[in-house]
Amino acid sequence: MRTMFLHLLRSIKYGFQNFVRNVFLTVSTTIVMVLTLFGLGFFLIVNQLSSNAVDEVENKIDIPIYLAEDVKKDKAKEFQSYVDNLANVKSTKFVSEEEALEDFKTTYKDYPDILDSINILNENPLSVTIVVQAENIRDYDGIVEQIKRSKYAGSVVKEINYEKSSTKRIIDRLTRILDWVQNLQFVVMILLAFLAIAIPYNTIRLTMYSYRNEIEIMRLVGASNMQIKGPFLVEGVLFGVFGTIISATLLFTMVLSLPEGVGDFFSTNISSYVQQNALMIVSAQLAVGILLGAGSSALAINRYLKV
């Protein structure tokens, strides 16, 4: 137990010593680590912001279902609860004839011709409308299809403003954009993961190469693999820790100094988002940094640990 403790202490001592004495290697490896972890933090933030932006757009999309004029309120409510219970329906809204007329008047307040034509009629030509919002914009096709096949089609439902509407076109376009963004995110993630592993690994491998004499000596005086690895693992952890400190500082400074317009673009207050999630971002960077540093050291050193 005492020997293990001594070994741990010495590993830390030598790890720190290597880190401090080999200035060039330490600086270059830490820079690579900072870039990697900065990229990771940046990706996490952009990912969250773009997903917020997508949610925001999705929330603005809904489809109105116009019911037949003679449908009683009870029947309309029954239909609403049927729609509510369909899979993938997030919410429904009941819009009475009066509310529909009010909405209509508000929408076309700048078009007196249209308002006049409504006023000529003595009765309200609009019917009850159920406004449906889906969990996901890709779900609208399915929901519309189900309603069309239900017993309410024809008798209760007069028209679903979907297929021929601009909503359908917007949804289709948005779906394509989302698919594209998701593919892009996937590619970026793969690329980032590759860079995140390959670059620090190779830099640390170079660092280990410079220690090959030390490693050989340790081996020949009869040090066990664990005794040899200890200091290098500590050094790897230090690369991760310092990489995190520097990259997090840079990232937060950069994000918090962004002009407000950028946040509006993503429909989010970036600085408050970053402040709320700082711990999560730093933890992710630290975990990846330490894992990458120590893992790369362990992998790289194995090369010199041949028996």
Binding site: T3, L6, H7, R10, Y14, R21, N213, E214, E216, I217, M218, R219, L220, V221, G222, A223, S224, N225, Q227, I228, V307
Partner: protein, 227 residues
Amino acid sequence: MILFKNVSREYGDHNPALDNVSLKIEDGEFVMLVGQSGAGKSTIIKMLTGEEKTDQGVVYFQNRRIDRIKPRNLPDHRKQLGVVFQDFKLLSQKTAYENVAFAMEILGRSHKEIKRKVPRFLNIVGMSNKAKKFPAQMSGGEKQRLAIARALINEPSVLLADEPTGNLDVFNSWDIVNLLLKINEQLETTVLFATHNKEIVNSINKRVVSLDKGKIIRDSMEGKYII
């Protein structure tokens, strides 16, 4: 005791590093391995440290087959051996004292033991007054002395010296040879000394094992360098 029994080892295309070598070295002996470069001297040393395997035959160290030592037990095996090389393999950023202490620290020796023993080892090799010097401030002979001090930290029963005078001038070479003889006599350490320095071999009247193209061509007590 070291025993090689019909040991063969080939590198690549039928290029024998060792060809049916049988050799027995008793405890406390001083044995010179002589031969041209590529004769198989280093292969013998590497087989003893467990760095090289045999293709055929077996190598025993203290009645234990080296090829059967599991990788995780190799460090313990190596603690019984001290190894010295032509290129010293010192750490340039550490002082003489730190070079020896470093190896002991890595092996988990206590601070007290390190403080007591490092000066002793430096004294054995005559480097007490250079304890604070860095390798760059030492002569070739001093560097090799320091490397020998480091090889002694485990108080090994066998010291393997692979061309330790290869990089040294005549004066320093004799310095190292005398040191190895002293270690052999005073500490009763078995010394296996690989060299192709004819003058040294012919002067010290110790056992000489001559190798050529991986074969032992001569093995004589108080031998001469004849290839």
